[in-house]
Symmetry: C2
Subunit: 214 residues, 2 copies
């Protein structure tokens, strides 16, 4: 697990709960938040540098802030990512102009694509960036089933991520494969609407459900 | 009604059905598609130039292609738009790189904002750009109720558009006010996800429903 923020801690906690051994990585080993998480999460939890975490994982999750993701993954090390499924949960959110943030990297690019291009041997799957951390691991806390989106160039990696998402409580029919990694644009740009919906609803505890015609 | 495409014809048809007098505008009076529409729609339908249509309407709808909207509205004439509610349904879709199109004008701007800035005396409300034309005027054709989004700087204009949408079949509780016209970014950038969902589902006959936590 790369990143010690709310998303990283929430996903790491769920993974430990599911029986996985999780190493949380940050810039420096001994990060206070990471140490606190290890203490609360128990014996299957450990922490270290980004490289420690990436080396440890069979599967790596990028839960760092979008603006820091490429640097964090560089510190994790291309060798430690090669051949592995890399779930990219990141979002580019620029709050410099005040809320709401400017969302995304551009209309014709995405963090998912940039990460796949920078680490061609990693098997990048964009997933879970379209909803609040607590809902990522507890989709059944909403009144109705909703959708989550995945995309990536590697079909096997997407199948693995689908299985993992099912262990989080997502129904396989609600996990929508949007296509190759360029589809990360759609998943990332949607967050511009998500931010406004959060403001309109007054809560981040919501998600969308795709309703089809009969 | 500015524009003779599927969106323009569908909205114009519904408005005539609801008893409104509708003038469809295009670059030149006598446009073949517009004439055909007038013939099929009956006595409350007429056609003319963009300026004819804008002058005629108490309320103006921009249903032109996003890339052509500012020019079309310029032809419609700032004087003919001044003080009027202008519903902007447009999307910027760039197919030059092949499908899927690049969506939006940029991550920190939108057609809605550009139109409001270019025509400061018009009361621009972004609406209905997030779904297929046939669903805009028949939301009950989906299996469940779904959401539509409005935004704009003028509260009175948004209230008028909300009433109009209700006559199309939208439930008032399903019409989400995203805020001022800068929220058009969220509504327009969402279309990047919509295009991918259309590909994944194999149909444009779908919409999203926002599901809240209990």
């Amino acid at each position: 697990m790369l990143g010690t923020g709310t998303v990283g801690r929430t996903l790491a906690g769920k993974l430990v709960e599911l029986g996985h051994e999780v190493r949380m990585g940050s810039r420096q080993a001994g990060n206070e938040v990471a140490l606190e998480w290890v203490q609360s999460a128990g014996e299957r939890a450990s922490e270290g540098t980004f490289a420690d975490a990436a080396e440890h994982g069979e599967l790596v999750v990028n839960a760092t802030a979008g603006a820091a993701s490429l640097e964090a993954l560089g510190a994790a090390g291309a060798d430690n990512l090669a051949g592995k499924v890399l779930i990219d949960v990141s979002n580019a959110l620029d709050f410099s102009g005040g809320p709401p943030p400017v969302v995304g990297v551009s209309i014709d690019d995405s963090l998912g694509e940039r990460i796949q291009a920078a680490f061609p041997d990693a098997r990048v799957v964009k997933a879970l960036n379209t909803l609040n951390a607590s809902l990522m691991v507890a989709p059944d806390s909403l009144e109705e089933s909703t959708n989550v989106f995945i995309c990536g160039d590697d079909a096997g990696a997407k199948a693995q991520v689908t299985e993992l998402l099912e262990t989080f409580g997502w129904l396989s029919g609600d996990i929508v494969d949007l296509g190759d990694i360029s589809a990360a644009r759609g998943a990332e740009l949607y967050v511009a609407l998500w931010v406004l919906l959060m403001g309109a609803l007054g809560t981040p505890q919501f998600n969308i459900r795709v309703v089809r015609g009969s």
